[in-house]
């Protein structure tokens, strides 16, 4: 799905989180929103997911103005920074949650839900953990379950907030490849937020460097590294 961000701005009371920013994300791209904390990247992601309302501007999905669309209707597969798994449900129930939450008319049968969850567990290469609770999983496993849960609703896009932020370096590297594989397999337009420039450069097709609520530069990883357009970008990628 193509995502267009048209002059989106966000203020929290007196504080400005996003100046009007515009961006065009082509269908099927894997995009990194890169910047230090406070740069507005998470706010932008949450606006796309419908978790925040922009103060002004429009969000356009495949040519349709979706600015006022409810979170529930967006079908944005959102993976939260701390995964936000439901701790009182098994892994199976976590992944099945979005399917069971559908209105009766469109809800798949139990057998169908079972098959889908099994397929997703295979996709994240954790076929044997269906009966476990989130507290019994490692950090990396939780992250992958959160991804599977987001994929279960057949999302139109994937939005990930610091997907690897809470993991140690080794697991982080493995999961990067995992995300790349899943992106390539599903072809979903994927946007992830990160403060780690190595992660952004290695994983994304397209990197959006942000600072203080502004988009500093948009480009392919190689271009940004070779030709930083502002002092900020130069300093940030040198760090």
């Amino acid at each position: 799905m193509q995502i267009q961000i048209d002059q989106i701005a966000k203020e929290f009371g007196a504080a400005t989180a996003l100046l009007p920013v515009s961006l065009n994300v082509p269908s099927g791209a894997l995009v990194a929103l890169l910047g230090p904390s406070g740069s507005g990247k998470t706010t932008l992601l949450r606006i796309l997911g419908g978790l925040e309302e922009p103060t002004s501007g429009r969000v356009i999905f495949d040519g349709t103005d979706a600015t006022g669309m409810r979170v529930q209707d967006r079908r944005a597969g959102f993976v939260f920074q701390h995964y936000a798994l439901f701790r009182h449900m098994t892994v199976f129930e976590n992944i099945a949650y979005g399917l069971r939450a559908r209105p009766r008319a469109t809800r798949p049968s139990n057998a169908e839900i079972g098959q889908r969850v099994t397929r997703l567990l295979d996709l994240i290469q954790l076929p044997d953990i269906a009966k476990r609770y989130p507290s019994q999983l490692s950090g990396g496993q939780r992250q992958r379950v959160a991804l599977a849960r987001a994929l279960a609703i057949e999302p139109r896009m994937l939005l990930l907030d610091e997907p690897f932020g809470a993991l140690d370096a080794k697991v982080r590297k493995e999961l990067r490849q995992g995300l790349r594989d899943i992106h390539d397999a599903t072809g979903l337009t994927t946007i992830f937020v990160t403060h780690d420039q190595e992660e952004a450069m290695e994983l994304a097709d397209l990197v959006v460097v942000m600072s203080m609520g502004r988009i500093e530069q948009v480009g392919k990883p190689g271009d940004i590294q070779a030709r930083p357009q502002t002092d900020f970008v130069r300093d940030f990628i040198a760090a």
Partner: protein, 300 residues
């Protein structure tokens, strides 16, 4: 990759924007308002109006009459007895609370869980049953109680029995506050003090006590409020001898049953003021020293 510029998007029908954005973690506005108003209304009927009515009834016939009723010698005796009972029961329970919390949180030993359960026992025993238990142990027709009475130390229908009954009811209060807090604090600071050469008492006074003082005060405050107001257990063991074994709550009952409404409500107003002071101090402690009070739920 594709071009990054925004071509003026050709839009199909836009999704209409709702007049007001409801965050997905909020209930709809109308529900928030309804719920808030409903909850506050019930709280007003159940708590605020009864509170106000105590003062209303006390002052129904003017200040003079109310003050006069308090000046009665029996009323004074009740106030004094209540203070004496609290002055003995509360420090003893504080001592118990600190000792129990120390034994429970600084050492690993068998039987901790049993002790914890036993400490909570008074919470689930009816005050009247507690009073009955004390009568059965110390009353004149038990072996032990009979011996005590024969030697001139009556407990039941006398002040010691009232103190024991009060202690029974308020027994867990201090320990309940301290155990979670001291568990959280661990014992590293105490161990550090010992390695620096402090004696056991010095370590306790200079390290442990400063760390728990606000929680201790909090527990003592709650314990005191309950101790001064205890009715059921005290009613059973006191014998209700006017001027001798009638505490303020007992006096309230006697006055009320004699249709001395103003006198009963005046004494009730005094205890209500005490409750309000307790709540104020408690809230101040919670706002100021939230981090130094145990984060345990279920206050009593």
């Amino acid at each position: 990759m594709a071009d990054m510029t925004i071509s003026p998007p050709a839009l199909s029908a836009p999704v209409p924007r709702p007049a007001r954005f409801t965050r997905c973690t909020d209930e709809p506005r109308w529900l928030r308002w309804t719920l808030t108003i409903l909850v506050l209304a019930v709280l007003a009927v159940l708590v605020v109006i009864p509170l106000a009515s105590v003062f209303f009834e006390a002052l129904r016939d003017g200040w003079a009459l109310a003050v006069e009723s308090l000046a009665e010698p029996d009323a004074w005796a009740a106030v004094k007895l209540t203070l004496i009972v609290a002055a003995v029961a509360v420090p003893l329970n504080a001592l118990f609370g600190v000792a129990a919390a120390w034994a429970l949180t600084k050492f690993q030993w068998r039987g901790k869980a049993v002790l914890l359960t036993l400490i909570d026992l008074p919470f689930s025993v009816s005050p009247v049953v507690a009073g009955l238990c004390i009568i059965l142990l110390f009353g004149a027709n038990s072996d032990f109680g009979g011996w005590l009475v024969a030697n001139g130390y009556p407990i039941v229908f006398a002040v010691p029995g009232i103190i024991l009954a009060t202690m029974f009811i308020t027994f867990p209060f201090v320990a309940r506050e301290l155990v979670p807090l001291m568990t959280e604090q661990g014992k590293a600071e105490e161990e550090a003090a010992l390695t620096l050469g402090a004696s056991g008492w010095r370590m306790f006074l200079t390290v442990t006590l400063p760390n728990i003082k606000w929680a201790l005060l909090y527990g003592v405050l709650l314990c005191n409020a309950r101790a001064m107001g205890e009715f059921g257990a005290v009613a059973v063991v006191s014998g209700k001898i006017r001027g001798e074994t009638a505490t303020m709550p007992i006096m309230i009952e006697m006055l009320y049953n004699e249709y001395l409404s103003v006198a009963a409500f005046t004494m009730a107003a005094v205890l209500t003021l005490l409750a309000l002071v307790t709540l104020t101090l408690k809230s101040l402690l919670e706002w100021r020293y939230a981090d130094q009070l145990a984060a345990a739920g279920g206050r009593h």
